[in-house]
């Protein structure tokens, strides 16, 4: 055992002072750390399962069956991954611009609320109303994020704070809307009891996203190709367009960007509004693709999951695809935990532990590299002084 530990220590050892690590070694260390971190997360989960008296094997088999065990499960997982993916794309854009939007939940809810209003009250051919609904969800999310952008430009209020607070305002606004007949609550059927459930009416069948399922049990909604197309679009825009370059400049050094003539305020506000638009769109896809009505708790934590997905990925839009699929796996796999006798909250715990495990390696290595550079610089100064 100690031989294994010594060997691991050697593999993970930092290179001596002035020598820069070779790229292969750096990547190797990163992968090794990821593996170790994930093992630790799984061990902790195993311990939790043991405490409760379950068996880790049955837990993982349940998660596997629920998430990718059958074709139908894969379809469900993909459907669960789509909102995460869309929200994560928006979050990635704001992170590139160097600002932080925590308001995805509120923007998603606002987008979905406006979309519900349109879906329920606009009359016309189904596909057109569907388009209008989705457009409304984009607008709703964009406007909600726009409030945060406005507060930043007008009163210099930090985006983090304003979007965080606006989340809870949105949650309560939704709660009010679905409890009030005149706004969103479904009308009580005649003869039914007054007061009704706090939820909206179901949106008409013609306004729902089609599920082009070819195989009998593999019905994935239209949301998936739309989401992937969006990722492709923004991957290209972010890396090859002038806008993408300006975004990156603003994120890296706003002061220098302003000197170069980049309109920092506009770019940053635009990024925030865009991410709100995407979060709202995710709400619209959720509404028209799977839930079909709005109620308190509609967001189902998709906002937070999307944000975490983007922060785990950090920079590569294409990497959002597997990571969001993974988040979807935890959702659908977690719902199967009920059959094992282990409380299904374990899925949430597992997700949290895995996110921490995924955050740890790059951050740890960055820190170590930074400390090494400082030491090398200091050694250089001392050598010159001597």
């Amino acid at each position: 055992m100690s031989a294994v530990v010594t060997r691991l220590r050697g593999l993970l050892a930092a290179p001596p002072g002035e020598v820069e690590q070779s790229r292969a070694a750096a990547v190797g260390q990163l992968v090794l750390l990821y593996v170790l971190a994930i093992i630790v997360a799984l061990l902790v989960t195993g311990a939790l399962v043991e405490i409760v008296g379950g068996s880790l094997a049955s837990v993982f088999s349940a998660i596997y069956t629920g998430s990718i065990g059958t074709f139908g499960a894969v379809g469900q997982t993909l459907d669960s991954a789509v909102p995460v993916l869309i929200v994560a794309l928006g979050s990635l854009i704001t992170v590139r611009a160097g600002m932080f939007n925590i308001g995805q939940t509120g923007q998603l809810l606002m987008g979905a609320s406006v979309a519900t209003l349109v879906a329920l009250h606009l009359h016309g051919p189904g596909p057109l109303v569907l388009l209008a609904t989705l457009a409304a969800s984009v607008a709703g999310g964009a406007i909600w994020a726009g409030i945060g952008a406005l507060l930043r430009l007008w009163r210099n209020i930090d985006v983090v704070i304003s979007t965080l607070l606006l989340n809870y305002v949105a949650i309560q606004a939704l709660g009010y809307a679905v409890s009030t007949q005149s706004i969103l609550q479904e009308p009580t059927p005649p003869g039914g009891q007054a007061g009704g459930l706090p939820q909206s009416a179901l949106i008409p069948a013609s306004v729902r996203l089609p599920h082009p399922g070819q195989y009998p049990n593999f019905g994935v909604g239209l949301g998936l190709p739309i989401a992937v197309a969006l990722v492709a679009l923004f991957a290209v825009l972010l890396s090859r367009s002038p806008w993408g370059l300006r975004l990156r400049m603003v994120g890296a050094n706003p002061v220098a960007s302003r000197r170069f003539g980049v309109r920092v305020g506009l770019i940053a506000a635009g990024a925030l509004i865009l991410s709100g638009a995407l979060a709202g769109f995710a709400g619209g896809v959720l509404l028209t693709g799977s839930v079909y009505r709005i109620q308190p708790g509609f967001d189902n934590n998709f906002g937070n999951d999307g944000l975490l997905c983007a922060l785990v990925v950090r920079d590569q839009p294409w990497a959002l695809l597997p990571v969001s699929f993974f988040f979807g796996m935890i959702r659908t796999g977690g719902s199967f935990l009920l059959s094992t006798g282990v409380p299904f909250y374990l899925a949430q715990v597992l997700e949290g532990l895995l996110v921490l495990a995924a955050v740890f390696p790059p951050v740890y290595l960055e820190r170590r590299e930074w400390a090494r550079r400082l030491r090398a610089a200091r050694a250089l100064v001392l050598k010159a002084a001597a």
């Binding site: 507060l151 607070l165 305002v169 922060l311 899925a347 949290g352 955050v359 951050v363």
Partner: protein, 303 residues
């Protein structure tokens, strides 16, 4: 309104404000240090659950309190070291810890229900006899009286001590503080440890002294109300106390007024803390100064 009604209202306000104030005192210190700590929810839940667990294992509710404080401290330890030693994104860590602790406590409490424990109320001899105020403020469980010591002590610690000076400097201008020898990230971590301990105490107070039981998602978002209170209070101790009182009162009104025959829009009351915080920042912008380096990570050597 009769004296009895007033007493009921004041008692309700005292009960809802106390956990907020414990956690807000800690968050006030943490935010003045420059860390925007959004894992208060996690710290309070940890304090609430492990407080009850300690009471069950130890046999008395008084043993649960230190365990709750320690649980909050552990959460803060993870948060602080990820955010201010490893330079991870503090919001990722905070949000993840929130979800993690929520899942963890729900998980444990579903697997094994905790027996109820409640600390009895103790009445302060003379002060408890004052007509409306007495029974509401001076007839509470004994940890409530800790507030009278903790709040001024935290204020003194931050505003009058050497440690507090370094903490405030870390929040206003970490680069300058670093140049004068202040260990910025260490002070930020210590501020977070204090926040964790106090939030854990607030959570333990909630479960052990008020409800007497641990239920799933017990805190239900009051961690974020605490953040709103500190922001509403303009990052001063007096403002934080006012914010907690106001938001505690709003929460209490929602519970108490229906019993007294009146009703208020429930959602508006719940949204009030956040609207008030936003409103304060918008309309009092000149006097509401956030610590200049709030939510900005600091790495020595980077401008």
């Amino acid at each position: 309104m009769s004296v009895v009604d007033l007493t009921i209202i004041l008692t309700g306000i005292a009960k809802t404000t106390a956990p907020l104030l414990f956690a807000a005192t800690g968050e006030y210190v943490a935010e003045r240090a420059g860390t925007l700590n959004i894992s208060i929810e996690a710290m309070m839940l940890a304090g609430a659950y492990f407080g009850m667990l300690g009471a069950e294992v130890g046999g008395s509710a008084a043993i649960g309190l230190p365990l709750g404080i320690f649980a909050g401290f552990v959460v803060a330890f993870v948060h602080a070291n990820f955010s201010h030693r490893l330079a991870a994104n503090t919001f990722v860590v905070g949000l993840t810890l929130d979800a993690l602790l929520l899942g963890l406590t729900d998980y444990f409490v579903t697997a094994h229900q905790l027996a109820p424990h409640q600390i009895a109320q103790t009445r302060v001899p003379l002060l408890g006899a004052i007509p409306a105020v007495g029974p509401s403020i001076f007839d509470q469980a004994w940890p409530f009286y800790l507030l009278f010591a903790i709040v001024p002590l935290a204020w003194w610690l931050l505003e009058r001590s050497q440690w507090g000076l370094e903490v405030r400097a870390s929040g206003e201008n970490p680069a300058a503080a670093d140049a004068t020898g202040v260990q910025v990230n260490k002070r930020r971590r210590q501020a977070l440890y204090l926040c964790g301990a106090l939030s854990g105490l607030g959570g333990a107070f909630l479960s052990l002294c008020e409800v007497g039981q641990f239920t799933e998602d017990m805190t239900a978002g009051i961690g974020f109300v605490v953040i709103a209170a500190v922001i509403f209070g303009g990052w001063t101790m007096r403002g934080t106390i006012l914010g907690c009182l106001l938001f505690g009162a709003a929460q209490a009104m929602g519970l108490v007024l229906p019993a007294l025959g009146r009703s208020l829009n429930g959602e508006l009351l719940l949204a009030l803390p956040y609207l008030a915080a936003l409103g304060a920042m918008i309309f009092l912008a000149k006097s509401y100064r956030a610590p200049r380096a709030l939510a900005q990570p600091f790495t020595r050597g980077v401008a």
